[in-house]
């Protein structure tokens, strides 16, 4: 086990507490940089989605994890970013310009959503953000002069500094990775400065935050704006990756997927956004596999267990019907959320910390180290 002897206030400020972090993150970055030359094009495509989802996850973490304001409307922010890009593209606006414009516009919309949200808390805020998402979805479907309604919009291949950036090529992947890394670094910077501490203060006790001189309303709006802005940037990349956008892509289910990203990853650290994104993006091919191959596998097992060919066929049909039922994906997501909230409230990153501690303390790790204890000091909230 490593002991850190702090000799300077800098030791508490720097992003990497000790050299071990520099090496491990450096190694990770190196692996990510050579990935396009090693991985198959399918996995590369998945990796791009991981980057985009993780960027949204970081944005959502700022709002939900660190400021304590739940949102089920982030699909709408993603949509605003994506549509801004697709719309501006028609006028031959260069990529850097519409990328920034999309982020700023989405941030502005986020701030506007933040204002009515000031008076709402908990479940009411969730309902308000859901209704916002529905409004945006409806606008996208109806405002045909700009969004082409339900026909959707084609997103042209990205032109960056005179070169064509294919959505499947390594350059696009590097771009998504750069956006993710810059978002994470910016967010970490924010979290170690007064604004980030004000966010956490608002999450834990608004009354105390106010009495310490924090303008709670202002910081909530800031949090909404930053969170939405980051999601808007991700929306541009999302639009380019899909090369086609339409209103039915930005539904409530997408917002729920973002919540899953942070809930499963862990809401207390930015690591959670990345781990959650990996989980969510990688579970999709797994579900497809279950849907396509599971009926055959189950029927095969049934046949070997002595069921007749006919009955095995019936079983195969029944399982296939179940596997392709509408809303099964949503149900599976629901089960995953419930299981994680009940058994691993700290998410995948929390589990990783426990595993890490197990090896650090080996063989002295005690099972009860992370046992959740009830604390009977509950403060009276002046809400």
């Amino acid at each position: 086990m490593r002991f850190l002897f702090k000799t300077d206030y800098e030791d508490d400020i720097r992003l990497f507490p000790h050299s071990g972090y520099v090496y491990s993150y450096g190694l990770l970055l190196a692996v990510l940089l050579i990935a396009p030359y090693v991985l198959s094009s399918y996995l590369m495509s998945q990796l791009v989605f991981v980057c985009i989802y993780a960027t949204v996850g970081v944005g959502l973490l700022i709002l939900t994890g660190f400021t304590g304001q739940a949102s089920l409307g982030h699909a709408a922010f993603l949509a605003i970013g994506a549509y801004t890009a697709a719309y501006l593209q028609q006028f031959n606006v260069p990529f850097p310009v519409y990328f920034l414009a999309a982020g700023l516009l989405t941030g502005l919309v986020g701030a506007l959503v933040g204002f009515p949200a000031l008076r709402l808390q908990g479940i009411y805020l969730v309902i308000a953000t859901i209704s916002f998402a529905f409004i945006v979805e409806e606008i996208m479907a109806r405002w045909e002069s700009v969004t082409h309604g339900n026909e959707g919009m084609r997103v042209k291949t990205m032109q960056l500094f005179g070169t064509t950036v294919s959505r499947d090529g390594p350059t696009f992947y590097y771009l998504c990775l750069a956006v993710l890394v810059l978002t994470i670094v910016g967010t970490l910077n924010l979290l170690r400065s007064p604004t980030g501490r004000a966010f956490v203060a608002i999450r834990d006790s608004e009354t105390a935050a106010r009495s310490m001189g924090i303008n709670v309303a202002l910081y909530k709006v800031k949090s909404f704006a930053i969170s939405a802005g980051i999601t808007g940037f991700a929306g541009v990349l999302f639009a380019h990756k899909l090369s086609f956008i339409s209103p039915e892509m930005f539904t409530l289910q997408l917002s729920i997927e973002f919540i899953i990203v942070i809930l499963i990853g862990g809401t207390f650290s930015l690591h959670g956004a990345v781990l959650g994104a990996i989980f969510l993006v990688m579970i999709d091919p797994f579900l497809t596999y279950l849907k396509d191959d599971m009926p055959g596998v189950i029927a095969g097992v049934a046949a070997t267990l002595g069921a007749g060919t006919e009955r095995a066929g019936h079983i195969q049909d029944a399982v296939a019907a179940f596997a392709s039922a509408n809303g099964l994906k949503g149900a599976i997501y629901g089960v995953i959320i419930v299981v994680f909230v009940l058994f691993e409230p700290l998410g995948l990153y929390g589990r990783w910390l426990k595993i890490k501690l197990f090896f650090q303390l080996f063989p002295l790790y005690k099972r009860a180290t992370f046992k959740r204890q009830k604390i009977y000091v509950k403060s009276e909230r002046n809400r």
Binding site: N189, L190, S193, P194, R197, A198, R210, E380
Partner: protein, 252 residues
């Protein structure tokens, strides 16, 4: 002109007069205690000063400025810090970041500077940290710096809340029952710190307290309240022997 002044301060919840036309003044550099039975309106006065409730009527002056209409977050910027009776700390943060939140009123960095963590932000962070360390030393909190609040015992939390208030370098500090939930030794420590706050840091103290030993030991003046009204005002012994105060506590 007094340093801090409340004039005819009232807070009514429907027909209930929690605070009823209370007037008092705090002189610069004194320790003034407010005592009274449960429900006398002591904490309500604090909540009026820190603008958690808007007063029904009356005015509050601080350094000759009318602060009755200031928004809650401005009260701290003017130099009035407070602690809470039931502890309002940021549970899922470390002691250090709790104390750094106390420095909020002194931070002047812009959002874009913080996103890039420019040298100015870094320098600001170090300056805040230096001030926080002074408070940590003052209140003997060294062992707890990196601990999460949610794992700390009540007595320590109480001190951390005081520390957070001190980190904002207040001119006037409002202590809401600083000794509640503390054992005898911790209460002793608290009384030393309160007197040191006055003598070493030059902070004016307004406190609500039930523990008469602590009140007698530290207060310059005492106000007794009951049913939202002022019963008596004066030195600790005067107030304790005032017939109305005796009647309020013991029954007439």
């Amino acid at each position: 002109m007094s340093y801090f002044r409340a004039e005819n301060l009232s807070l009514h919840f429907g027909g209930l007069k929690a605070v009823d036309a209370v007037s008092f003044a705090v002189e610069k550099g004194e320790i003034l205690s407010i005592i009274g039975p449960n429900g006398a309106g002591k904490s309500s006065i604090f909540n009026l000063i820190s603008r958690i409730y808007p007063p029904t009527s009356g005015k509050i002056f601080f350094e000759d400025q009318d602060i009755t209409q200031q928004p809650a977050y401005d009260i701290a910027r003017l130099g009035i810090a407070r602690t809470f009776q039931n502890i309002e700390l940021f549970e899922n943060a470390t002691v250090l970041s709790n104390l750094l939140v106390g420095r909020h009123r002194h931070s002047n960095t812009q959002l874009w500077q913080e996103l890039l963590f420019l040298p100015s932000v870094r320098a600001g962070e170090k300056a805040h940290r230096r001030r926080v360390e002074q408070v940590i030393e003052f209140l003997d909190l060294e062992p707890y710096r990196d601990k999460l609040i949610s794992g700390l015992p009540y007595g320590v939390r109480k001190v951390i809340e005081l520390a957070r208030a001190l980190c904002s370098e207040p001119k006037l500090i409002l202590l809401d029952e600083p000794s509640s939930g503390l054992n005898v030794e911790e209460t002793d420590d608290m009384s030393f710190w309160i007197r040191d706050m006055k003598s070493e840091l030059g902070i004016t103290v307004l406190m609500v307290e039930h523990d008469m030993t602590l009140v007698n030991r530290v207060s310059d003046r005492v106000i007794a309240l009951n049913y939202g009204r002022v019963l008596a005002m004066g030195s600790p012994s005067e107030v304790q022997h005032h017939p109305d105060v005796v009647a309020a506590y013991l029954g007439a």
